[in-house]
């Protein structure tokens, strides 16, 4: 079960993920990112501080946008991950392929 909240800050779209993302809920993450892109945001911050769990289905959603974001000059930074969630990204080295900041401040620096 995942709750997704969006708010705008300094021209960036902040997508906050609350709960767990698995095969039954990864579609909601996909829709939220697609909506942000559809509304024309080129800076997307993903707040993972209340993300308790992410399965490969959720990792796959982030991976699927890497190429498109490069082509369209859209920048995305994830931040606020717990050690557990960060470890999930690290097992396959996805932490090297995605931009990940420690907190919102660092994420804002990484995105500009």
């Amino acid at each position: 079960m995942i709750h997704i909240k969006r708010l705008q800050e300094d021209g960036a779209d902040v997508i906050a993920l609350v709960g767990e993302i698995d095969a039954s809920s990864s579609i909601e993450l996909d829709l939220a990112i697609a909506k942000s892109v559809g509304e024309g945001f080129t800076k997307i911050l993903v707040d993972c501080s209340a993300l308790e769990y992410i399965s490969s289905a959720g990792l796959g959603v982030f991976m699927s946008y890497i190429e498109e974001f490069k082509d369209r000059n859209i920048s995305m930074v994830l931040f606020g991950m717990s050690e557990r969630v960060l470890n999930t990204f690290s097992i396959l080295g996805l932490n090297e392929l995605l931009k990940i900041g420690k907190d919102k401040g660092e994420a804002k620096q990484l995105i500009s």
Partner: protein, 139 residues
């Protein structure tokens, strides 16, 4: 100790599967990070089974057994009677291809193989048993 969980093949039930694994392993001083990796691998195996072998039919049931003592390895068995999908026979796509083709799948099997020590398949009384083993540093 043996722990058993029987559940229908609806992906809405994955949360219950994860909670069962966490609760069982935490009774045996398995470190948190190891628990979270095991949960990740088994979530992947169970969601694959629900989606590909049982087309998310909630009336199809499968069982997850956990055998855990203070000695390694911990043994997990996923038992069902659907079509077997042997992940050892599956060549997972390269990460670069996953990015390039904008695929949303393909990461899961790579994760399972990175996390688990061994994955074996066996038939017993007409049922499929997928046995995964993992050694951890008990706290």
């Amino acid at each position: 100790m043996n722990y058993q969980y029987k559940v229908g093949c609806s992906i809405e039930n994955l949360k219950g599967v994860r909670d069962f694994i966490r609760t069982s392993l935490k009774k045996h001083a398995v470190p948190d990070l190891a628990v979270s990796e095991i949960v990740l691998a088994l979530d992947e195996m169970c969601s694959n089974l629900m989606i590909h072998a049982h087309h998310c039919n909630p009336d199809d049931l499968f069982e997850l057994h956990i055998h855990v003592t203070q000695q390694n390895p911990i043994v997990f068995e996923i038992i069902d009677d659907g079509t077997v999908f042997d992940i050892n026979q599956f060549h997972e796509p390269e990460l670069n291809n996953i990015i390039h083709e904008k695929r949303k799948g393909g990461l899961g099997i790579r994760l399972v193989k990175s996390i688990m020590d061994k994955i074996e398949y066996q038939k017993s009384s007409g049922r499929n048993i997928c046995r995964l083993t993992k050694s951890v540093n008990f706290q």
